[in-house]
């Protein structure tokens, strides 16, 4: 996908978690363009920054969840979305899988796990529409 910036958007309603993820991303050597606590803000920020990667929590502030935000971002921007979720409910997993996720990580995320997922997402081709 052309026109994407080499940066990462972090979507999580918990400040400390978003901050911890930001540090891990920076340790990899990437730039965090923004963090968002809700789906609507995430969509707006993604459209503004056009990040190549989005780290997406499932439970967000507001009505919409991570999959809603991810679908919108996938449609309008084309970023690769890696879900970072505390849940492993079958219904949640099924919902995530409707959205061609570039990866799914479960909290707590181990050191190195995030690096592995981002590298894999960047090297993989764009999933077919």
């Amino acid at each position: 996908m052309s026109g994407l910036n080499d940066c990462v958007l972090i979507v999580d309603d918990e400040f400390l978690i978003a901050e911890g993820l930001r540090m891990q991303v920076e340790d990899i050597g990437m730039v965090v363009c923004a963090t968002a606590p809700s789906a609507d803000e995430a969509i707006a920020l993604a459209q503004a920054h056009r990040p190549v990667i989005v780290l997406m929590d499932m439970r967000l502030l507001g009505e919409k969840d991570g999959v809603d935000a991810s679908l919108a971002i996938h449609e309008t921007v084309g970023s690769k979305v890696i879900f970072v979720t505390g849940s492993r409910e079958p219904s949640t997993i099924a919902r995530i899988n409707t959205d061609h996720p570039a990866g799914v990580l479960f909290k707590p995320v181990a050191e190195g796990e995030l690096r592995e997922a981002i590298e894999k997402a960047l090297s993989s081709p764009q999933p077919p529409e």
Binding site: E14, G20, S87, R88, P108
Partner: protein, 537 residues
């Protein structure tokens, strides 16, 4: 002159030829004639004698011998006549003539009295005729005998046929008789069986623990009801007779029941089976399971009788409903519990992620590499706790999970977190279901042992770590973490007693009532942790 001379001395006498003057013709004629006569007279008596000899049955055969003697004597006289032509033996001739005369006389005298007797002897022709007649008679007799014998054979055949038919008829009669006896016997035993089965039916009808009712198939009127049914409805047994079974059916069930019963009555359905309510005499309703069949006339198929068995299922049904309701409540409670547990696990994981972030943030502010390393080790321990909750959340009962996949992911993440790209790992775990109380200490022990191996075994940054978990029949679990590194070193002494890692390992092994042993066998270190297997929750 003597007699001999008189007989044989012819002297003085003249031969007879002299009387004939020796005329040759006369002499020859005499000779020839006398010869023929003499010879013939010799031949005839021979023939007569031969004849008589052959026919000993002749009457008066002695007469024939008289003829033989007399003719022979005559023949001799003729031969003597030839002799006397030349020799004058007239004495001998006279003797012979005397003999002949005597014989002739005797014969002549004897013959006359015989004439009537001989005449009485039947002639050959008479005998032949007689014979013919006799033959005819014999033949007639033979024919008669034949006829008699053939008619006797016919008679015998007829007689035999008659005997056979009599025997056949007798056998038929006997068989018919046997059949009749058997039929009579069978009828008697059927009658006996019938009365027995009637008695049995009455007993089973009356004594049955389930309700039994016989009704008129068309108007539903009760013909007979047993005690169990009467008690079920709270009525006297006799009070039910004559009333319609439908009277006692709960109004809400009546329409459906009648529809189902009519389907049986018309033959659409073979049997009526319904769970329905009756209304008791006290107004309470009672649930029953009713099975009914319609008995029909064999010839016309017309309904004769309806036979119903009514089982009181009130208590059972109500217990079943209560159980179902309790089950539903329980299932709802379980669902609620599961929901809460998942929420708790979710929140624990989220909080651990927050702790991880805090550790990371703190680590950023530290300049001391040792302090940063300590915080990194803390993050590994936090991760182990998070992974246990993650496994629990994915398990079916939310309480136990298989240790194998957990150990595999945990060990790999510890190696990965250390940044040790050249360190390889193999994990081999037997299937073992574990809960939170076992998995958290074990997860932390494995984290410490693998971290230790990474930290101390491989100065070159290359090596292999083997994590293995075995179970035995005597409920023991053996965890081994083996490396192929440089072995224990003096300057690593802190790991033996003083370090945080050692404290954690020793403390948690003791908590699990196990033992830990460290072996340095020259080509690496092997840590063995023997634990009692977890008790299933």
């Amino acid at each position: 002159m003597g007699l001999a001379d008189w007989l044989f001395n012819p002297s003085g006498l003249t031969p007879h030829g002299f009387c004939l003057s020796w005329q040759p013709g006369l002499v020859a004629t005499h000779v020839i004639a006398d010869t023929i006569i003499g010879l013939s007279y010799f031949s005839i008596p021979l023939a007569i004698a031969a004849f008589v000899k052959r026919r000993p049955d002749l009457h008066h055969g002695w007469m024939a011998y008289l003829f033989v003697g007399f003719i022979l004597a005559c023949g001799t006289t003729h031969l003597m006549a030839i002799l006397t032509l030349w020799a004058p033996a007239y004495g001998i001739e006279a003797v012979i003539k005397v003999v002949t005369a005597v014989l002739s006389l005797v014969t002549a005298v004897a013959l006359w009295p015989l004439v009537p007797q001989l005449a009485a002897v039947p002639s050959g022709a008479q005998l032949l005729a007689l014979n013919d007649e006799l033959s005819a008679q014999v033949e007639a007799q033979r024919r008669t005998a034949e006829l008699l014998s053939s008619s006797q054979a016919e008679l015998r055949a007829v007689n035999q046929d008659l005997k056979r038919r009599v025997a056949e008829r007798t056998a038929e009669l006997e068989a018919a008789n046997a059949r009749l006896s058997a039929a009579l016997e069978e009828q008697a035993s059927v009658r006996e069986a019938l009365s027995l089965s009637e008695a049995q039916f009455r007993a089973s009808f009356e004594a049955a623990a389930v309700g039994k009712v016989q009704t008129d198939p068309l108007d539903g009127r009760i013909i007979r009801a047993n005690n169990a049914f009467a008690q079920m409805l709270g009525y006297d047994q006799q009070a039910l007779v004559g009333r319609s079974g439908w009277e006692f059916t709960h109004p809400d069930d009546l329409a459906g029941d009648q529809q189902a019963y009519n389907a049986v009555l018309t033959g659409e359905v073979g049997a009526y089976v319904r769970e329905k309510r009756y209304v008791r005499s006290d107004g309470e309703s009672v649930w029953a399971r009713v099975s009914a069949v319609v008995v029909r006339a064999p010839a016309t198929g017309a309904p004769i009788l309806t036979v119903a068995v009514i089982e009181n299922i009130d208590a059972r049904l109500k217990a079943q409903w209560a159980l179902e309701e309790a089950n539903r409540d329980l299932a709802a409670a379980l669902d609620q519990r599961d929901l809460l547990l998942r929420e708790v696990y979710h929140r624990v994981k989220n909080n651990l992620q927050i702790i991880d972030s805090l550790l990371l943030m703190q680590s950023r502010r530290l300049g001391d590499p040792e302090a940063r390393e300590a915080l990194s080790a803390l993050r590994s321990r936090v991760y182990a706790l998070g992974l246990v909750h993650h496994q629990l959340m994915g398990s079916k009962d939310l309480q136990t999970f298989d240790i194998g996949p957990f150990l595999d992911v945990l060990s790999r993440r510890v190696v990965q977190a250390s940044g040790g790209g050249a360190i390889t790992l193999s994990v081999d775990a037997a299937p073992l279901a574990v809960g939170l109380d076992f998995a958290i200490p074990l997860g932390l022990i494995v984290t410490e042992l693998v971290t230790n191996a990474i930290k101390h075994a491989f100065p070159t940054g290359e090596g292999h770590i083997k994590v293995r978990l075995q179970t035995s029949d005597n409920h023991q679990v053996l965890l081994t973490v083996t490396d192929n590194g440089q072995g224990l070193r003096r300057d690593d002494g802190e790991t033996a007693g003083g370090s945080l890692g050692s404290t954690i390992i020793n403390g948690l092994v003791a908590q699990l009532r196990g033992k830990v042993m460290i072996f340095d066998n020259g080509d690496g270190v092997r840590a063995e942790v023997a634990l009692p297997a977890p008790v299933r929750p």
